[in-house]
């Protein structure tokens, strides 16, 4: 167990970056006055506040014991699962707009299922086929979601 939470430096830095960014972009809109607030007032104020909280988070890092700050130990990301889930969703987006619902569903489920080390490619194929069948009946025939079965939108 680490003595303190080193990740809080990154966490604080991320909030500082997001807050500063929001404040800079927000200040480009009209700020106005307290009486007549422009559209820029609120985003700028929130951005500054967020950056300030970021400073506090980073500042508190040396005093935070690792176990106190929330979620249990995650370990390193699982890159295979990661790649497969992200590309499954990307494939759905690409194929739904160009090749239709059937292919999009099949590819999305198959690729995502391959991300789990417990699934063989046969199991992934079977799961993808089952979900495709179910998805087409439910979303295309029953709920009439506006993606063609085959072909581009």
């Amino acid at each position: 167990m680490k003595l303190f939470e080193r990740r809080d430096y990154y966490a604080g830095a991320l909030m500082m970056a997001l807050g500063t960014g929001a404040a800079i972009v927000g200040s480009r809109y009209e700020i106005g006055s307290l009486t007549r607030m422009g559209p820029g007032f609120f985003p700028t104020a929130l951005g500054i506040l967020l950056a300030f909280i970021g400073v506090l988070i980073a500042g508190a890092a040396p005093y935070t014991r690792a176990s106190e700050s929330g979620t249990a130990e995650l370990g390193a990301p699982d890159w295979r699962g990661w790649a497969c889930i992200v590309s499954g969703a990307l494939l759905f987006i690409l194929l739904a707009s160009h090749a239709g619902l059937v292919l999009a569903t099949f590819a999305c489920v198959f690729i995502a299922a391959m991300g789990d080390r417990g699934n063989s490619w046969k199991e992934a194929l079977g799961l993808a086929a089952a979900i495709t069948l179910f998805g087409v009946v439910l979303f295309s025939f029953v709920l009439r979601v506006q993606i063609p079965l085959f072909g581009s939108m």
Partner: protein, 506 residues
């Protein structure tokens, strides 16, 4: 003020309409299922179903989505007791004594007691809502913009600091949510903010995309290949096992009562939802028990009290949401978002302007809880079978449902891209030990917060002291300060029940 008995009857006439009954049934069945399936969250489930309700009448839609919220509580207990999986935070504490009971072959008894506690807790929570919500709304009628603003601030502050994890990070997440809520055209001036020239962002970020990214995809990224093998050795049970013995009933009666009261208290404090209620209830039982050493080894009180408190608190959580328009947690924020999408302005006027919605919802709570009992007791075997669906089949299917659900919200694939973005971003947040739930609170309340803030300052001609000169507003601000001071106090001496609850849930 008279409690409208006629109103309640009217509510039943709404909720008993065949289509509303059907929506309620779909909601509670889906909720129960989501509760049982390890690795599926209530937030994702509501978000997936939300786009499908866009074409439905608003009352039916809300009955269904609310059914999901409380139905999941029933399923979650099954998962905790029989599998020792704290898949739903409010039921994490039930594992402590529920699973040892299951190991001793008394899993059925534990479930039976849970059901009884659930019904009692839920009934109390609903009664509480019938009597207090119209009353609170009546008071809130007189709130000025400044008062509403301070109340929202209190809600946001409580929601972000009392939940799990570091309070400071919770506040950061809330502000991030408020900022995300600003994306799109400004209502007052029409200026586009934070859209970066993307036309699809003009109407703001789609709430379904945000929530499915943060709680759906991010969760898959987090748990893929990391789930532990499920131990299904103690899942064999039939209907007759559910009947508790007289001795067990006697032991559980007072814990159920105490749990219910704790749950209803927790639902009154904004930001403390069912999770905290269940931990406090457990801690209380253990403290006042004459035989605290039995806890953790299968004490029936350790199941009865937290379960009753969860249910009374989930029902009670609807009170601030429906009477003030201030949600206590992310689930309620999502339901509030659903109301807004269906064109209903949340706030104290809701009960008067949409009696169908409010009283129909209350009536549907009774009906829905009754349905859940009939779903769970005779069909316990079905749910237990469902426990065995492995995660490796579940998440690829869920990914598809997320993609198509988000698409269906506005018929645009751009929202699916947004979802993926928030999925990856949400994973980054979790890696950095942020709890993303308050983002949703900020996101939903953001636009109304800004509107009221601006209006309050226009009325007072830019005088910031208006927030202190209005007595109601000043009162809420005092509570805010009190909350912060109390938090610091707890940090200094980590022995209070809340601190115990937050460390125990880690």
């Amino acid at each position: 003020m008279e409690i409208g008995f006629a109103d309640l009857l009217h509510g039943f006439s709404v909720a008993l309409q065949p289509q509303n009954l059907l929506y309620c049934l779909i909601g509670v069945v889906a909720g129960n299922m989501v509760g049982v399936l390890p690795g599926m969250g209530v937030l994702s489930a509501i978000s997936i179903l939300l786009p499908l309700t866009y074409g439905m009448p608003p009352v039916g839609a809300i009955l269904m989505l609310a059914g999901l919220a409380y139905g999941a509580q029933y399923g979650g207990a099954i998962c905790s007791i029989l599998l020792n999986l704290p898949c739903h935070p409010p039921h994490a504490v039930t594992c402590l004594d529920g699973f040892p009971l299951a190991k001793q072959g008394k899993g059925g008894t534990a479930l039976g007691i849970t059901m009884m506690g659930a019904v009692f807790g839920a009934a109390f929570g609903i009664l509480q809502m019938i009597f207090t919500a119209p009353f609170i709304a009546k008071i809130a009628f007189q709130f000025t913009s400044a008062d509403i603003c301070s109340l929202m601030l209190l809600g946001l502050l409580a929601g972000s600091t009392l939940a799990k994890g570091s309070p400071l990070k919770g506040v950061a997440m809330t502000i991030l949510g408020l900022l995300l809520g600003l994306v799109g055209q400004d209502i007052n001036t029409g200026v586009e903010r934070f859209t970066f020239g993307i036309i699809d962002l003009d109407d703001g970020i789609e709430i379904v995309a945000l929530s499915l990214g943060l709680f759906g995809i991010a969760e898959f990224l987090r748990s893929v290949n990391k789930t532990l093998p499920i131990n299904t050795a103690y899942t064999k049970l039939g209907v007759s096992d559910l009947r508790p013995s007289g001795a067990d009933l006697k032991k559980a009666a007072f814990p159920v009562l105490r749990g219910t009261l704790i749950g209803s208290l927790c639902s009154m404090i904004p930001g403390t939802g069912p999770t905290i209620a269940s931990f406090v209830a457990y801690a209380t039982e253990k403290k006042i028990s004459k035989t605290p050493e039995r806890f953790g080894h299968g004490a029936i009180e350790g199941v009865a009290a937290p379960e009753a408190s969860t249910h009374s608190s989930v029902q009670g959580d609807f009170i601030p949401t429906m009477s003030l328009g201030i949600p206590g947690d992310a689930v309620m924020a999502l339901l509030l978002g659903a109301l807004i999408i269906h064109g209903i302005t949340p706030g104290p006027r809701l009960i008067v302007e949409h009696p169908d919605m409010f009283w129909g919802l209350i009536a549907s709570f009774w009906i829905g809880n009754l349905m859940l009992i009939f779903l769970n007791v005779p069909m316990i075997g079905v749910w237990v079978k469902m426990l065995m669906v492995p995660y490796r089949y579940l998440f690829p299917s869920a990914l598809f449902f997320i993609c198509i659900g988000v698409f269906a919200a506005k018929n645009t694939l751009f929202d699916v891209v947004t979802t993926l973005f928030f999925g990856v971003f949400g994973y980054l947040l979790v890696l950095l030990r942020f709890e993303p739930a308050p983002i949703l609170l900020g996101f939903v309340l953001g636009p109304r917060f800004e509107e009221n803030f601006r209006r309050a300052l226009v009325i007072s001609r830019g005088d910031l002291t208006t927030f202190l000169s209005h007595p109601i507003s000043a009162f809420f601000l005092t509570l805010c300060v009190g909350l912060i001071v109390a938090q610091l106090w707890v940090r200094m001496r980590r022995k209070s029940p809340l601190a115990v609850a937050s460390t125990a849930s880690d």
